[in-house]
């Protein structure tokens, strides 16, 4: 029996024993088709999904390679049913191809007639296609290219899009490589994307997704529309592009609630695009304002539903999605696949961290015990008030003070959800507070001060925390806030995981009230962080001085 590092489970998860001598080889073999789900210390869990298998097909892997990878690296016999299923699933990709024909225009071609018959009979697909040219080909309305791909994926026959892209309006963009260059994995990501035409690059927070975007723009040399989550993010993109490329301020426009500039490179927010007045999306014209050669989607996993609908009409343009995770809380991974494109590059966090591009993080959960009076108040409180009671306990304040004191001199963020609590903390710590109500100018001023090291402590609300970029924060202390979702946590962690000048260890503290719902949310966070492979410890508040010494 071969002694491989991989164990294939019957629920289609793959367990990879990381300490095994050939673990890296196995990881490389399965990475194209399996999604990394959990990466704790000894065994990493990958999951094989149809989308993952189709991603692999899109990247040019065939079923034989996948089956071979499983059999070669597996320690035990691989369940036969799983192998059959893998082969069947992969075989479904590419039976249908979208092509551009010089004579007829866009058409759908099949290599398997019964499949074409099946999909043409489907009532949702029928209206999307035109006349049947012959037994293998059917015309497709160019405007339905996206919808058709979406529907085909839904019924399990994903189409390969080989219809090509318009070049768009040419515009010279170069990388300003004087004092820096793309890291190897960023270059690989750019190449992977360019080769595939359209698709998604998955990189962890802080791994330089913006630069991958810049690299792609330099490759396309065409007018570019960049869609980002919010205004602050838009400004960061702008600053980064000015710094890293040959683009000048006049060439970059911002299209947001405040400003409406359309320039060769335009950065727009999701919010402005999805603004509706009297049920009409008023800013849709932007999409056609220029002959864009490239559309970049930042944080694809947060892409709102209306943007998907608009994207369905942009299928002739090159699309680059950037994200830290393909997992969407709303389960619309399939739409990302069919409308933006398959995954073109992926690197697990830990690998990039090991290469020294991300600060290693030490995650500590500090448990405080509520005094008896508060326990009683908690026990008798209405369920909806309990979380607030538990997470805003005053006993947390001295604990936070203790942690702050311990890391005096290191850039530190205190993150919370409730404003009263934050105000009180700020007062006790003598720090400034940034909340959703803080004016943008004030916010940016404080950030700037933090960035240059004038101040080393900020208290921020969950709302503000979402969009900021604090490159030198190396300690984050969370005092309240539910475990919203995996991405939210990834984002929050990303705050402290930005590359540090001196390679210090980043610290992520969560202060939690024992035996309350607060601890339940913490349990989710603990699981997530441990799954991501971060060292995680739980300490009692009383043990704190020795634990962090």
């Amino acid at each position: 029996m071969p002694d491989g590092p991989l164990i294939v489970q019957s629920d289609k998860t793959l367990l990879l024993e990381v300490d095994h001598p050939s673990a890296e080889e196995a990881r490389r073999a399965i990475a194209p088709f399996a999604e990394l789900e959990r990466a704790p210390e000894h065994i990493h869990t990958y999951r094989v999904t149809p989308l993952g298998l189709w991603n692999a097909r899109a990247a040019g892997h065939d079923a034989e390679q996948v089956v071979n990878a499983l059999i070669t690296h597996s320690r035990y016999a691989v369940p036969h049913a799983l192998l059959v299923d893998v082969a069947d699933t992969m075989d479904r990709y590419g039976r249908l191809t979208l092509e551009k024909d010089p004579e007829h225009g866009l058409l759908l071609r099949t290599t398997d007639r019964p499949v074409l018959e099946e999909v043409l009979r489907h009532k949702k697909i029928k209206p999307l296609v035109g006349d049947r040219l012959d037994q293998d080909r059917v015309l497709v309305h160019p405007s339905e290219r996206g919808h058709l791909k979406q529907e085909l994926l839904k019924i399990g026959w994903p189409a390969e899009d080989e219809a090509g892209y318009v070049d768009g309006e040419a515009h010279r963009i170069d990388l300003d490589n004087a004092d820096w260059s793309l890291r190897p994995y960023q270059q690989q990501a750019v190449d992977g994307f360019w080769h595939g035409g359209s698709g998604v690059v998955v990189l962890p927070c802080g791994a330089g997704k913006t630069l991958v975007g810049a690299g792609a723009m330099a490759q396309a040399k065409a007018t570019t529309l960049i869609l980002v989550t919010n205004t602050v993010s838009a400004r960061q993109w702008r600053d980064e592009l000015l710094k890293r490329t040959s683009l000048t301020e006049d060439e970059i426009g911002e299209y947001s609630g405040a400003r409406k500039e359309i320039r060769p490179v335009t950065i727009a927010t999701y919010q402005v695009l999805t603004t509706r007045r009297k049920g009409v999306y008023t800013h849709l014209d932007l999409l056609d304002a220029r002959d864009w050669g490239l559309v970049v989607y930042d944080e694809v996993h947060l892409l709102p539903a209306p943007i998907f609908r608009m994207t369905a009409d942009l299928q002739a343009r090159r699309r680059l999605g950037l994200t830290a995770t393909l997992v969407r809380e709303d389960g619309r991974e399939a739409d990302v696949f069919s409308l933006i494109g398959p995954k073109r590059y992926d690197a697990p966090w830990k690998d990039i961290e090991a290469q020294g591009y991300i600060a290693p993080a030490d995650c500590v959960e500090v448990r405080v015990t509520l005094p008896d009076t508060e326990r009683l108040a908690y026990a008798t409180a209405e369920p909806e008030d309990r979380y607030r009671l538990a997470s805003c306990s005053p006993v947390k304040i001295p604990v936070v003070e203790k942690i702050v004191a311990r890391h005096r001199g290191e850039p530190t963020l205190v993150i919370g959800q409730y404003l009263d609590q934050l105000d009180e903390l700020a007062q006790r710590l003598g720090a400034d507070v940034i909340t959703g109500e803080t004016p943008v100018a004030q916010r940016q001023k404080l950030f700037q001060a933090f960035r240059v090291g004038e101040i080393d402590l900020l208290v921020v609300s969950k709302v503000a925390n979402f969009s900021i970029d604090l490159p030198e924060a190396s300690v984050a202390i969370q005092v309240s806030g539910t475990f919203g979702s995996r991405q939210e946590e990834a984002q929050r962690l990303g705050r402290v995981l930005r590359p540090k000048g001196d390679g210090r260890t980043a610290h992520f503290y969560t202060v939690v009230s024992r035996d309350t719902v607060d601890a339940e949310f913490a349990a989710h966070r603990q699981r997530f962080l441990a799954e991501q492979g971060y060292a995680y410890r739980i300490v009692d508040a009383d043990d704190l001085p020795t634990a962090t010494a």
Partner: protein
Amino acid sequence: MADDVRARTDAELHDLLHRRQDLARPAPADLSALAARASTRASVQRAVDSLDLAHLQVLEAASAAPQPVTAEALAALLGATTEQVAPTVDDLWALALLWRSPEGLRVVRTVGEVLVHPAGLGPSASDLAGRPTAPDDVATLVDQAPAAARAILDRLTWGPPVAVLPAGTPERVATGARWLLEHHLVASVGTEQLVLPREVALALRGGRSHAEPALSAPAPTGDTREPGAVDAAAGQQVTDLLSLVDELAAEWGLRPPRVLRSGGLAVRDLKRLGSVLDVDQVRAAFVAELTYTAGLVADDGSLEPSWAPTPAYDEWQQQPGDQRWAALARAWLLTTRAPHVVGTTPPGATGTVNALGPDAHWPPARGLRRDVLDLLASVPTGLAPRADEVVASLRWHRPRRVPGSVDAVVAAVLREAEWLGVTGRGALSSAGRALLEGRDESSLAAAMHPHLPTPVEHVLLQADLTAIAPGPLAGGLATFMRLVADVESRGGATVYRFTPDSVRRCLDAGWSVDQVLGALGDASHTPIPQPLDYLVRDVARRHGQARVGAMRAYIRCDDETTLGAMLAERELSPLQLRSVAPTVLVSPVAAETVLDFLRENGFAPAAETPDGGIVVPQAGRHRTPLQRRSAPVTATGVDDELVTTLVGALRAGEEAAQYHRDQLASRPGPSLPSTDPTTTLAVLRDAAADRQPVWIGYSDADGHVQRLLFQPERVEGGRVHGTVDGTARTLSIHRVTGAAAG
């Protein structure tokens, strides 16, 4: 026939008795008796039913052919060569379904009763009292036949040879049938049936008895698998199966599902089992049935019975994987239960079949299972036959025995064999072959041993509160892990997840925190991750914080010294006092006794009501509840007034009675004694015959008896018809209370 049997050699008789075992039990007295028994209908039926298609077709051809038969004639009928047919003919003789008469081979007469229409051929024309039609004439006539007649012939040619023409048959068809009858191509049986005579059918069939002679067994085809891959796949399935059985036992040991009143497992419980095992219901039913068959779970026989693992399970669980498999596989091979019928609705039944219930017991399952497996064993090693070809082959081998549901059964057997590792990727595994060869337990286990992953004795503990066993865990550790953590994913490895609930479950089962951490530490090569250590300690910190127990009395006292004195008092030891708090003692003895004991020993306790009030002492004033007193009974004497009244009343009563008697006497007709119904009937019949009126008492709908002078006319069906005062009446005899001639 008897002569034929007597003429057989010992070896031939040995062969016959071996192949028709019913002939040997009870032992026949002599060879004549053997011959007689061999030609009984029951025995012939059994022998014919066990024939394969080749033998059956030859026997059918022989039955249809004129007697005596020859191999040449049969070969012609079957469209085969004599060499092909001859061995089968000899074999049928060896089975004593054919016998050698001085004139030649004959079919045992009873075969004709078993095979009513051999090869779908009707009776010979001579048996139908018609004249046989020469084959040439048939051809000529058929050419001339009208379309409707042709259609009927086409339907009857390859059997069944009987057509029913019920009243209301369309005219066109009826005309066709009449034409056929007129030309003696069919004969009529009874009023509505047509039958095609054997000679006509044979002529229409071109002299052949069977449309598709199948003298050789079909060879199943399919993909050929690498033997190594087959065994590896089998081993992998067995790993899965063993862990499923363990999980079932763990689940049912903890939460035993109840036994339905009709026996079996409720559909809801099967669903739950499916979700616990994370398999579909078909597989869940199979695992449940298999463990039941192997005696690993059973009805616990309690007052409210439930399904629970048996002590045999604990024994089984401690054995190595290969032996555990051997026990399961053997139980499966021999069981007469059919797990695949669970969840289906048998024809004619109202509900679905429950797992572990009596309806899942289906004796033919064992024979069919064996047949399928024997077939798998007969194909070349590594061949994975397709299911439909297995069915076809089974039909060939047992044409008269396969049930209608054979497709489902074969699919189920193949599926179950795969789950059990008897096959791997559809081909018989080497361990499966050992099972079919009937090897003993240890050599069977040895056949599976090399294909099962080596049990591991460690788990990998991770900071995300999972533990991974990178292979099957050895018995004790597996039980512990299932107790302390929930299974999250199964396969070559097992992923366990620790949750506060799972850890608490382990503590509930009596483990201490140090034992849990110690066992985890022993099972892991790496130190216990801090979050896991913290979780276990955190759960343990709260575990058992509140204690619950039952006692019959408590003693509370604010003065701890008093309670201390009570605890120290030797005389109070029968109260088994225990201190649960400085100011509270408890005792399993009833409160009254405790009070008495304390008082006797110089304490001054007060009793307390359940809501904490003091029971007011009522010493020396024990009373019954309030009693209701009844008034005393008194008698009063008889005075004159009463006597006078009484006498007056008596007198009046007597007069009334006399009046009533006079009234009765003044009525016409005789007095009417109540007569029994037989007499009543006789009187009424006589009166009807003589046309004389009778006096009858007739009980009307209200129960009053009327007196009627009735003129009966006729008696029938329990009623009598007649007239009363010239009005026609029909009276029920049972209502006539008495009758007397008028």
